[in-house]
Amino acid sequence: MSVIQDYHLMFSDLSSNTLEIIRHTVTERGLWRVSKEEGFDLIREMYEKISSVYGFPTPSLIEDSYEYYFIPLERIGLPKVSLVSCLHEYRHHMQKMSRKRFEDVEVDARGWSISAFHYALPEDFDSAWRRGRIWYLPPYPGGE
């Protein structure tokens, strides 16, 4: 099985509105600084805003033991507040609405979510990659 490494470069044309919503949620609303409960509310708000950019219904979000997207009910589950994870699951929702660039839905969702983080918050992305806190990326070039 070939290993795909350039997830962060797969969607260089991501909507500037979407990137701005992500930046606002993290830097101004403090996604990584607030409590878990507030973080889930911020993700719900972010889902609502991104959905309005694309004209999609907003998926529901609940706290659960695993990270998942249940296609029939348009429901996302997350065990904790994670920007990349919540974007990954949102991309599966977009796929349901026929937005898909890569045939493999997991590759497509990894590419979209990691690219969104990369292009919205390049410095935070770089720092997270260096610390090994983005799944599916190869080790940071040149090491720590």
């Binding site: 099985m1 997207y69 296609i71 029939p72 009910l73 990349v84 994870s85 599966h92 997991e106 983005i134």
Partner: protein
């Protein structure tokens, strides 16, 4: 165990079940997830463990006779750190 497709760090399982009503579907979700996780672990443990499951994508396809097939893609990787 009914196997579906395989991709880069994901495995698919097909889980037949009685067709649920919408209210039942909400309750059944937890059972479907646990069945998929059990299938995944029976195939991939000890190399991968429960903590290495990074995401689960669940769809349902109606079958005849009041049954559905849940197709469940379980994504995984070696999780060392929590994702940001």
């Amino acid at each position: 165990m009914m196997r579906g497709e395989e991709g880069p760090e994901w495995s698919e399982y097909l889980l037949p079940a009685l067709r649920p009503t919408r209210a039942m579907a909400e309750r059944e979700l937890g059972f479907i997830v646990e069945r998929a996780v059990a299938n995944f672990l029976s195939e991939h443990a000890p190399e991968y463990r429960r903590k290495d499951i990074t995401g689960i994508l669940i769809d349902e396809e109606p079958l005849g006779g009041g049954f559905v097939n849940y197709s469940v893609k379980v994504a995984y990787t070696k999780v060392v750190e929590e994702q940001v």
